[in-house]
Amino acid sequence: MSAADLSPFNSPFAAGTAGPSVRAVKDPFHGDLLEVSMGPQHPSTHGVFRMVVTLDGEIIVKLKPVFGYLHRNHEKIAENTSYLGSMPYTDRLDYLCSMTTNWAYALAVEKLAGQAVPDRAQYLRIIMAELTRLVNHSCLVGFLFNDLGTSFTPLLYAFREREKILDLFESLTGSRMMCNYQRFGGCRVDPTPEWLAAASRLVDNFPRFLDEYETMLTGNEIMLARTQGVGVLDAAKAVNAGITGPCLRASGYNYDVRKVDGYGFYPRFDFRVPLGAHGDTYDRYMMRVLEMRESVKILQQAFRDLPAGPIMDPKSKLRGFRPKAGEAYGRTESPKGELGFFLVSDGSPNPYRYRVRPPTLINLTLLEDMCLGHTIADSVVILGSIDIVLGEVDR
């Protein structure tokens, strides 16, 4: 019963499945199908996310993701707040990587207003973005192994490293996860030399943690058995569905916004983009690990030749910021994929239209295609490998 011929299969049960969490579903082919609702309070769905899974025995026959529990009307609120006012809200979109979201929003506004950014600020933005990539990827890898069943050990090793980076963010911006660090035309705080020294020391021995992680888990037979060949996503389907980020590169399609757009000073740095071959959960996991190693390389180069100079463009205005009418789309490579902000301005201090392209929501669309034919235990691992954060999915 291969997954391919099952996907067009539509069980004759009503679309609305708000019924009791578990219902027996009559079906001519497979006898009793079992419809199980996993979430929104389920220990393994990352945040309030619900999967209505129809099971034939152990095999998933149909999977309907249900989300929106964390919808906070972010885009409508942004239309009634000043451009600066929305900046702290962008921290709460993808609460694991606030710096990259800040940068994406600042990039879009700077495109809209034609704002220049000094060199030191560009370097600082790259440093913060790559540190956030380390934070996010180590977080994901930790959670993925937690879904695979270890009792929190890899998660706590990953969190131990993540905490050290978050302490750096806290000593610089004042808050560990809600940094609110970028402004239109540069950064808010200039890091002190001690901070830079501590950061480069941390980055230098980050690979030691990665090596320990890889020896512990990458060669683990159970890990290979549980993830290789699970949740395969071929490149063509991924591209059609608009998947971006490590999930796309795991399927072997070379698309990294840092290389494609070359925004910020990324062209000045030499780093490589790892590509997978099979597009299964194991490749997605390895993409994150290899990207962490690349980020360490970028950070070392950035610390080496960080220029002196102002961190804020003198012409940038803090209040009464009225960009001329027009629209702009700024996109960056957030750790989850291509994060974009589409702004339409009508000359007033509030944006006329404020739209976020959430990479996690779009990566989530193919969850069913990846899970068909696998068991419940796999669906949890596949969901973990896509790396969703409900703040960004529901906005």
Partner: protein, 167 residues
């Protein structure tokens, strides 16, 4: 003698209650209790090896088979409602029961049993093993082949089942 009657009572009571239960799972579990009662007999008779084998095989494995069978057979409600009250059915039950009892008592009375229960010979497991693979090797091998065939049969039935299913 007291322990013998006590064990007999327990086993028979479990079997009787099992018969009268409406809930199929309860009756299955009480059946397992009666098997444990039979193991009690062996223990009383001093044959520890057979008693533990009985528990291991019946209480451990066969009970699982029974319970799985009870769970997986899809019984629609129509079959359950057997009309107990019809007179013809009760007469047939009495006749069948009487015949079985008669045969049993006949067999028990006719066999010349030594009256005094001779102390059971304390046979060690080692001697039992030697006996099994000494004089009775043929029967042991026969049983082994029978069980293997049964096991392979089950595997074959289970596996082909899912293949036919694919549309």
């Amino acid at each position: 003698m007291i322990t013998l009657t006590f064990i007999a009572l327990v086993t028979l009571a479990a079997a009787a209650v099992a018969m009268s239960q409406r809930n199929l799972i309860h009756s299955a579990l009480l059946l397992v209790a009666s098997w444990a009662g039979i193991a009690g007999f062996y223990l009383w008779a001093g044959a520890e090896f057979v008693a533990f084998a009985q528990i291991l095989v019946y209480v451990g494995a066969v009970s699982m088979v029974v319970l799985f069978a009870v769970l997986l057979t899809r019984r629609s409600h129509a079959e359950l409602a057997i009309a107990p009250a019809s007179v013809k059915r009760i007469l047939a039950a009495i006749v069948a029961g009487g015949a079985v009892l008669g045969a049993l008592f006949g067999a028990v009375l006719s066999t010349p049993l030594a009256s005094a229960a001779a102390p059971p010979p304390a046979i060690s497991v080692k001697a039992l093993g030697a006996q099994l693979l000494g004089r009775h090797t043929a029967s042991v091998l026969l049983i082994a082949v029978l069980l293997t065939v049964a096991l392979l049969g089950a595997v074959v039935i289970a596996s082909t089942n899912s293949k036919e299913d694919a549309p």
